[in-house]
Amino acid sequence: MSTPPVPADVLREAKKGSAELVLLALLEHTPRHGYELADRVEADSGGALTYNFASLYATLYKLEARGWIRGRWVEKAGQRRRRYYTLTPAGTQVLARQRDEWRQFVLALGRIAGIDFA
């Protein structure tokens, strides 16, 4: 299922602002490491969202400093060790709050700008 590519300039700020929500949401149920997160973002958004891998980690470290996620090194047999991130209780609360805020924002946007959603 392919969607037409989105013009980059319109959504650059929106992408930046939604990065936290996206990462928190992806970590809600499963611990993941950085590459896994980048991969899921691209796959689940159908290519609409991609992150420069360095800025992905910058965002992850920022989230960790706020105490919303926590990272731990895990070494699996036969592999190099990777840093897995999980959501903290504080992060869960933040995720819920941000979801609400985005939901309201999007609804308002829809009413004003006349955007329909499936």
Binding site: N52, F53, A54, Y57, Y61, E64, W73, V74, R82
Partner: protein, 880 residues
């Protein structure tokens, strides 16, 4: 370093960006994953793909090595606990050194609270809990004779009964009798003195398993009347009077007028069921003793046979006793036997007072700990910034909580160690007070094993309890708490509010007890003893030994005559049992000779008191009807008696008792010739009982206490009185030379000590609770400074602000007082036996205490509230 890590570093260096090792590692891993994925899906030049990815990467937002995040990797789990604890301890000591006033205050309060509680425990443990110093102490019992209808639950026993049931019982391995007494020791060059003595069967000593410090114990041979007289002496007496000389054993002394050989020395701490003596004599078992079914006066100790319970033994003994009731109805009707474990008997009387004191000390400690817990909560809130930084730097919630707990526990450990020192000092004072109040047999030493264990356990328990709140709060910290204010502050204030309400409740409890006891003591002091104690001095002699007793009548007469010639003396007399001096006295059944015999179980009982003529006048006891004894009422003349008003009220309410015949339990008849007013015999708070006074000349029994009324200060007569007595008999020891007023005061020593102690503790608890209220209100006022500034700027008066604050603290105080009052009602029931003239839970007393606490609490909240009005509205608004 792998190839990928090298490449990431190179890329960073190209842009002048130095990255942390772990960041490099993570980026490298990501690149490697991307490369592998590329290899799997599109095999054309994955290297170029990865290189392009790296080239596009903007590394500027990534952390540098010196900035620390992401934090250094932890091994799986949350840090190694052992090393963590050590570093927490070091950190704690640094933190505490930086706040010396806080640390000193907390440690000092803890030391006093923990120390006082430990000292109280030392005494209570020794008196009530510690196993008695006997072999197999839990198998030892005392056997009492019991008469429920007369309210005699643990009465002394009759010898005939004892020898019968002890001979037939199979549930007892051994049994023996003993009785406390006094004795006069002389004949070894030192001054004759009257000493506490014990008359004891050899089997009693054997049952306890005591080992003599020197010499031997009594044997069954020593109990034969034909055996040479022997005594055992107490270790303390041995050292004091005999210098601890080894050859004291074997020496002959004069005891109660007769020569006796010292055969052994008992340990100075030895007692039989709480009774002790300086000199011990063997019971002399005459042939008549085994069939003596008149009179009760002995105590008995027995050892349960293996596998037999107390209830089984009691059942068997009462089966035997039933035949004794049939065989000797006049002695035994209405009586049975009760078997009581020795541990239960010892300390029975003192248990309520000791437990009340221990409870009060414990309550003060609780209040102190509550204050400290509140203080720790405030401190935790103040340090939340400090701790939040640790969380941000990667400390897990468990680590932060552990650090806070270590800090609290360290404070408590310091307080506990210092508290042990305080306890060692306070223990001596507690022993002194308890001994003076007659609550312990003798003062013991300092802290022992159980006391130290208690101190350690108490410190740990209180430390853990007080660290719980701050530690749990610390667990919930997040980097968000780096911002000012927040919910944690409000929660801390609420927590403190609960603590302080609890403190107020505890203060209410202790003060209620103190107030009830205080009122009771005042009532006791106001009781009219029925005699005039001022200007009367007393002196006691015990005429022990056959020779002395034979001459006691002449002795008494001579001494009284001599005393009456002393300057200033207006009258002198003697009695066998001085009122309120603590002696039990003689009680016996009797019947009115002109009434039908009511039967052995229904005979009334009266206290018998031998007195000399002039006794009532000397003591100022009111003569209600009839006459006093005279010099004509002597042994070969018709026997007479004087009774008290209670006797008349209970036994001869409609007919004048004068002239009526009394028959005592020895079948001697007396004619009632007088009636006197009731006096307090055993205790100021006790109800008066029927009393029969007999002329000493017709009933010369017991030790003699001389009473002398003088026109001047009676205390000045002491030496003259002793001199007069020594003139008549130089070898007669004289003891307890004291004003009668002192005797009356001494009878109140225990209520005085207990009330005083509870008053001190109650005041301490109130002070601490007031400090707690002050602290909570002061802190809350400080938080609300801005709000008050705004209110003032908007026109509120300072009075309104104060009223606002005080009203809100009223909730706290009212709640605490109410909770304390609700608890005080049932708890004061445990003081029942110590109260006189006031019921436990007396509403007026509780209301008064509640009012005092409420006023103290309001004052404690008014002071900081007033400071809250000193806010400058303009600066408060600017801060907003």
């Amino acid at each position: 370093m792998t190839d990928w890590e090298r490449r990431v570093r190179q890329h960073g260096n190209t842009h002048g960006i130095d990255l942390a090792d772990t960041v490099v590692e993570e980026l490298a891993a990501h690149l490697e994953d991307a490369w592998r994925a590329r290899v799997a899906t599109a095999p054309d030049d994955p290297d170029a793909f990865a290189a392009a990815m790296l080239a596009r990467a903007d590394l500027s937002g990534l952390p540098r090595p010196h900035a620390a995040p992401p934090p250094a990797p932890l091994p799986a789990g949350e840090g190694r606990w052992g090393l963590g604890l050590l570093s927490d301890l070091r950190y704690t000591l640094r933190v505490l050194r930086r706040a010396p006033a806080f640390t000193a205050a907390v440690v000092a309060v803890l030391a006093v609270g923990l120390g006082a509680t430990t000292a109280a425990f030392r005494v209570v443990h020794a008196a009530l809990i510690a196993p008695l110093p006997y072999v197999d102490a839990d198998r030892l019992v005392m056997v009492f004779e019991r008469n429920v209808s007369r309210g005699r639950a643990r009465n002394v026993i009759n010898p005939g009964n004892f020898f019968t049931w002890s001979g037939r019982a199979t549930s007892l391995d051994a049994a023996g009798v003993f009785s406390p007494s006094v004795g006069n020791l002389a004949g070894d060059g030192a001054t004759p003195e009257e000493l506490p003595a014990m008359v004891v069967q050899a089997s009693v000593l054997a049952m306890t398993g005591v080992r003599p410090e020197a010499g031997r114990l009594f044997t069954v041979q020593d109990e034969e009347p034909s055996s040479p007289p022997v005594v055992l002496i107490d270790g303390g007496l041995w050292r004091r009077r005999f210098g601890g000389a080894p050859d004291a054993v074997g020496r002959t002394v004069v005891f109660n007028g007769e020569p006796a050989t010292i055969v052994g020395v008992l340990p100075s701490t030895f007692h039989v069921a709480g009774y002790r003596g300086d000199v011990w004599r063997p019971t002399l078992i005459t042939a008549g003793a085994r069939t003596n079914f008149r009179g009760r006066g002995l105590l008995s100790l027995a050892r349960l046979a293996d596998g037999v319970t107390r209830e089984q033994a009691e059942a068997e003994l009462n089966g035997i006793f039933a035949t004794l009731v049939d065989e000797h109805p006049e002695m035994n009707t209405g009586w049975d036997l009760s078997v009581v474990p020795v541990r239960e008997q010892v300390g029975r009387e003192t248990r309520p007072a000791l437990l009340a004191l221990f409870g009060a000390v414990g309550a003060v400690l609780l209040v102190a700990c509550a204050n400290i817990a509140a203080l720790l909560l405030v401190r935790a809130t103040a340090r939340r910034h400090d701790l939040a930084v640790r969380v941000t730097l990667g400390a897990g919630p468990g680590q932060v909580a552990r650090q806070v707990a270590v800090e609290c526990l360290t404070l408590f450990a310091l307080g506990g160690v210092l508290g042990a020192v305080v306890a060692a000092v306070l223990t001596q004072a507690m022993w002194r007070a308890a001994y003076d109040a007659g609550m312990v047999l003798q003062p013991e030493g300092g802290l022992n094993g159980p006391a130290l264990a208690f101190a350690g356990g108490l410190t740990l328990l209180t430390g853990l309890a007080c660290s719980l709140g701050p530690a749990l709060r610390a667990r919930r910290l997040s980097p968000d708490d780096l911002k000012a204010g927040g919910r944690s502050v409000a929660a801390s204030t609420r927590g403190r509010g609960w603590l302080v309400a609890g403190e107020v409740a505890a203060a209410m409890l202790v003060l209620s007890g103190a107030a009830l006891l205080g009122r009771s003591y005042v009532e006791l002091q106001a009781v009219d003893p029925g005699f005039q104690a001022d200007r009367v001095i007393t002196a006691r002699v015990s005429r022990m030994g056959a020779a002395a007793q034979a001459s006691s009548l002449a002795f008494a007469g001579d001494v009284i005559a001599r005393l009456q010639t002393l300057p200033g003396v207006t009258s002198a007399a003697a009695t066998s049992f001085l009122p309120l001096d603590g002696q039990v006295g003689i009680g016996s059944t009797f019947r009115l000779g002109d009434r039908p015999d009511p039967g052995p179980g229904n005979l009334p009982v009266a206290d018998y008191r031998p007195v000399t003529p002039g006794y009532f006048a000397t003591l100022g006891i009111r003569m209600v009807a009839g006459r006093d004894f005279s010099a004509q009422d002597v042994g070969d003349r018709p026997r007479v008696a004087i009774v008290n008003e209670t006797f008349v009220r209970q036994l001869s309410p409609d007919v004048s008792p004068l002239g009526r015949p009394l028959a005592d339990s020895l079948d001697q008849t007396q004619e009632i010739v007088g009636v006197v007013a009731d006096i307090a015999l055993s205790g100021l708070g006790d109800d008066p009982r029927p009393t029969i006074y007999l002329p000493y000349a017709q009933f010369p029994v017991g030790s003699l206490t001389f009473v002398v009324r003088s026109a001047q200060n009676p205390a000045l007569l002491g030496r003259a009185i002793v001199g007069a007595i020594r003139e008549i008999d130089p070898n007669q020891p004289v003891s307890d030379v004291q004003p009668l007023a002192d005797v009356v005061q001494a009878s109140l020593v225990r209520p005085r000590v207990v009330t005083g102690a509870l008053g001190v503790f109650g005041t301490a608890a109130l002070l601490l609770a007031a400090i707690g209220v002050y602290g909570v209100v002061a802190y809350s006022v400080q938080l609300r400074r801005t709000e008050f500034g705004v209110r003032l700027a908007l026109g509120a008066t300072p009075g309104a602000i104060v009223a606002l604050v005080v009203r809100q603290s009223l909730w706290l105080i009212t709640g605490g007082v109410a909770a304390g009052a609700v608890l005080a009602v049932p708890l004061s029931g445990t003081l029942q036996s110590l109260l006189y003239g006031v019921t436990p839970g007396d509403p007026a007393t509780l209301a008064l205490v509640a009012a005092v606490i409420a006023i103290a609490g309001l004052l404690a909240s008014y002071l900081p509230a007033r400071r809250g009005t000193a806010v400058d509205p303009m600066s408060a608004l600017r801060a907003e």
